[in-house]
Amino acid sequence: MTGRAPRLLAGLLAACLAGSSAPAGDMLDKRSGADFMSPENRAMQADDMSNPGMFAVLDGEELWNRPEGANGRSCAGCHGEAATSMRGVATRYPAFDERSGRPIDLAGRIGECRRTRQEASPLPHESPELIALTAYVAHQSRGMPISPPQDERLAQFRENGRRLYERRIGQLDLSCASCHDARWGERLGGSVMPQGHPTAYPLYRLEWQAVGSLQRRLRNCMIGVRAEAFAFGAPELIELELYLMERAAGLTVETPGVRP
């Protein structure tokens, strides 16, 4: 425990010294974070019987079919079989939300559906129920390529996401790009830095010993560089996701992923 912080600092500082001018969103050798994992952890993800993220997916299936709220409707009551109706949906999120005039992520969409269609109480960010439903819906797109919507209304938000991605933040003065564009494949402490593609969320992270969202992971990174993390659900986190998904376009959805 005591040895960890100095090593982290040294690693991050080394990363800090590197230039970071790789062409974002246009990586030549685009690779999922799974490619950088040990064979054991890849095997854990690949086998549904040994992937603990499957518990979230199965819980999500149960919730999908459970009537909720004042309307007493289930997700299935409107959407039917998720295997058909939700197939490919996660590849196109975040999407433009007409009501708010802003991008909305998958968990946000589920929350909106719950509020307006089911008239049910909101599920808190990162609650097991919201994670499970999101994992179940995203799982219906497993194996499909990430295909961000070419919606002009999203452009300015995506551009803001790119700015956030490239902006140096925190006491360590690092941007996302400092590590995930400029130094991917190299080590930070004992860990290999991946390219930072959100292909497998919600995912089971061994560090968490639980399934969590992309926002939880992004907040981790921000805390790691000693920056003040955006709150769960903050527009900035959704804009970042919007940019990250564009950057990851073409990679396949893995939900539920496993990561160290």
Binding site: D48, M49, P52, M54, F55, L58, D59, E62, Q209
Partner: protein, 106 residues
């Protein structure tokens, strides 16, 4: 909510050695961690797991906090008769949960 994922063949030949795998949904809280404000988080683990074949115990395990969250157990059994392979696991809370699967032996 889903409490266990069980993987065992549905059919087997008599005398065949089959592999049985179980993954249980459980945080396996070690009792060695502290939460907010430095308060110790009490231990909460599955401490015992038993597998029976038509009522006869064929495998059991005593588990400790060093077993990873969502315990994963794989073991083998000789297929003897058709019937029920049952699983029971007990937590520190004293509660026992169960799951079972059917097998046809020819």
């Amino acid at each position: 909510m889903t409490r266990a994922l069980i993987n065992a063949p549905k059919t087997a030949r008599r005398g065949e050695i089959i592999e049985i795998r179980a993954m249980l949904a459980h945080p396996m809280e070690t009792g060695f961690r502290t939460g907010t404000m430095g308060k110790a988080i009490p231990r909460d683990i599955i401490n015992r797991f038993v597998c029976t074949w038509n009522g006869e115990e064929i495998f059991s395990a005593d588990l400790f906090p060093a077993i990873a969250a969502n315990p994963y157990l794989a073991f083998t059994a000789v297929a003897t008769d058709s019937g029920t392979i049952a699983f029971a696991w007990t937590g520190d809370d004293g509660e026992t949960r169960t799951a079972e699967t059917e097998i046809t032996v020819t």
